[in-house]
């Protein structure tokens, strides 16, 4: 028998433990911690985040959080944003800390924020880096649907001491959505397809697992890609389903009109009814894709656009 090296065993055991630790540590994001609803919230990690006083210096690392903070009347408390935070226009007076994937941790620290807020549009690595720097950070990863949007607004409201404003905002958003749904009662639900990529780049759309799928559904249409996942959808499914309406997101490097024109002229899509009947239209993607205070408006605009086509 071979002589066993005790060091080798110890090292193997150590390695094994290292493998197991992250599994155990990340096992349960939902801890049972009681949070009051003023300046305190439990974020997605199960972490209780409490502020001593109303935050005066907030850094937002996600465009939808920035929009939410403005809607809650906290725009003047934001001291840092990302390059992608572009609404409302006042944000451009605020310093940017970089892009969504790799914001500058140093820059964030130098802004001395009372709290940093990030949604699922941001990166988990950023959260860890800020944790290590002892910066207070709340990470919200809500469900990919309208209820998730409400929940995000509510939690940001709780954390920043603006719960009442948040509740008013949510209730007015709910009113808009239910109004849309009332107006659609008794109407035929048209089938719809949302284009985020096409042609040579492959066919990509808001599949059933995306937030946009919920927006399309609430707007009174049936998303033909509901059974797809991960934004990918087979061309032949699109041709076979032949949707009543096609909603276009502007493609990168092209304007909305160019995107629609190119789609219509492409030989793959020319046989679609929506192309022939010209029931294809574009909507600004930021309002559609961001889970934020404008989401109810997005549902309404989408519903109006579909109605305007006579559907």
């Amino acid at each position: 028998m071979k002589q066993r090296n005790p060091f080798r065993i110890i090292i193997s055991l150590l390695l094994l433990t290292m493998l197991v630790i992250p599994l155990v540590a990340k096992g349960a994001p939902e801890q049972i911690v009681e949070a009051s609803d003023y300046l305190s919230v439990i974020d997605w990690r199960g972490e209780l985040i409490t502020l001593d006083k109303e935050p005066q210096r907030i850094v937002s690392l996600s465009p939808n959080v920035t929009e939410t903070l403005f809607a809650l009347g906290l725009g003047d408390k934001i001291v840092g944003r990302t390059d992608y935070c572009d609404y409302p226009s006042e944000v451009f007076d605020i310093v940017s800390v970089g892009d969504l994937m790799t914001p500058s941790i140093e820059k964030i620290i130098s802004l001395e924020p009372d709290v940093v807020i990030i949604s699922n549009i941001g990166q988990k690595e950023t959260v860890e880096a800020l944790d290590r720097a002892h910066i207070k950070i709340a990470y919200f990863d809500e469900d990919q649907d309208m209820e998730g949007t409400y929940s995000l607004i509510e939690k940001v409201g709780q954390l920043t001491g603006t719960k009442q404003v948040a509740e008013q905002l949510i209730s007015s958003m709910r009113d808009i959505v239910s109004e849309v749904q009332h107006s659609n009662v008794g109407k035929n639900r048209p089938t719809a397809y949302y284009v985020t990529g096409f042609g040579e780049w492959g066919d990509f759309t808001a599949t059933g697992d995306t937030y946009l799928h919920d927006i399309i559904t609430l707007a009174g249409a049936d998303n033909i890609a509901s059974s797809g996942s991960g934004w990918s959808f087979q061309l032949e499914s699109l041709i076979a389903s032949d949707p009543d309406v096609i909603i276009m997101a502007p493609m990168w490097g092209s304007s909305m009109d160019e995107s629609i024109e190119e789609f219509k002229n492409h030989s793959f899509y020319s046989s679609l009814s929506a192309v022939k009947n010209n029931t294809i239209f574009g909507l600004e993607e930021n309002i559609l894709e961001r889970q934020g205070p404008r989401s109810a408006q997005a549902v309404k605009e989408l519903s109006d656009a579909i109605t305007a086509l006579g559907m």
Binding site: E200, G202, S229, E236
Partner: protein
């Protein structure tokens, strides 16, 4: 190593497998058209005449989507496998694959550059992306051939130049994508390979290109055998080494550049397929050429079927599947290879 299986046995088996995969690829798809209907549509021909038997959309799906897509997978598989075979002989290196001369990184760089300068956008038509990719890959490969002194120097110089420039171009492509993040996802997706944009125009071009690049090889199988030995042996046997090498190099490089332009980077086919048959039937290029010609499409068609069905109605990138299935197979081969030494 002994020559295990005879060509007369394995080739018919492979042809049957290929025919079955071809038929299955036409029948299977997210649109769920019944087999009987699919056959009916196939037999009516390419032009649709209104009929209650099937819809215009179903006719389009079979004739304009599935058939060209399947044919494209078939042609790309052949060119990649044969290209790999030629490269491995030219470089006398079992690790040489069709992308070693910067073809894939050149293509990806071409696409990234095209997007960066605004030649490409998310809404460009059918030809701009392949044009950018083809330009990039051809430029990169020619640059490598020139930089390394072409075929005058040793194959090792050529191989090393290729590897170095590959890294350089990949880094350059990453930099361009980093500078313009909005394009990142589309370009990444593109590089992972897909047959989903297959069309009749592309099939026609690929068919001509395959003929031009694979056809002449029939005349050169003996030279390829001799090249594998060494250059001195080749010279003494009267093979004009430099001329043959240059012709074969240019032909294969051109063929592979066209496939990359149309279908993105589909890895491991060109590396794997020739090796598999070298193990099974031995290193004679007369056999290898035939077997690669049939074996390549088997891998690409099977991979495309998986790409279409695994997450239907969504789709996986083909390049991911060939690499996922290819790596374990390759390890098995390596172990086998060592054992036989």
């Amino acid at each position: 190593m002994k020559k295990g299986v005879r060509l007369g046995v394995i080739l018919p088996v492979l042809l049957i497998v290929l025919a079955l995969l071809f038929a299955y690829s036409l029948v299977v798809g997210a649109a769920g058209i019944e087999i009987s209907k699919t056959l009916q549509i196939l037999f009516t021909g390419r032009v649709y005449h209104a009929t209650p038997a099937f819809s215009a959309a179903q006719h389009t799906i079979i004739w304009n989507l599935r058939l060209p897509r399947t044919l494209m997978a078939l042609l790309v598989g052949s060119v990649l496998a044969v290209g790999g075979m030629v490269y491995q002989a030219l470089f006398r290196n079992p690790m040489a694959d069709p992308y070693v001369l910067g073809i894939s990184s050149g293509a990806a760089f071409g696409v990234a550059l095209g997007a960066y300068v605004g030649f490409l956008s998310g809404a460009t038509g059918m030809w701009e992306v392949p044009a950018a990719a083809f330009g990039g890959s051809l430029l990169a490969s020619l640059l490598i051939i020139l930089l390394s002194g072409g075929t005058r120097r040793s194959q090792t110089t050529l191989l090393l130049t290729g590897i170095a420039l590959n890294f350089f171009l990949s880094a350059l492509m990453t930099l361009l994508m980093y500078l313009n993040r909005s394009q990142l996802q589309a370009i990444m997706q593109w590089t992972m390979g897909s047959f989903s944009s297959g069309s009749w125009d592309k099939v026609a071009i690929l068919a001509v290109v395959s003929l031009i690049t694979i056809g002449p090889l029939v005349l050169y199988t003996k030279e390829l055998d001799i090249l594998l030995l060494n250059e001195d042996a080749a010279l003494s046997l009267g093979v004009s080494v430099k001329k043959v090498r240059l012709i074969l190099l240019l032909l294969s490089t051109f063929g592979i550049s066209v496939t990359v332009a149309f279908s993105g980077v589909i890895g491991f086919v060109g590396l794997m397929v020739p090796h598999i048959f070298r193990l099974i039937t031995g290193p004679k290029h007369k056999n290898l050429l035939l077997l690669s010609l049939v074996g390549g499409p088997i891998i690409t068609l099977a991979s495309d079927i998986i790409a279409k069905t695994a997450v239907s109605p969504s789709e996986l990138p083909v390049g991911v599947i060939t690499a996922l299935a290819g790596t374990p197979l390759f390890f098995i081969l390596l172990v086998q290879y060592r054992r036989n030494r």
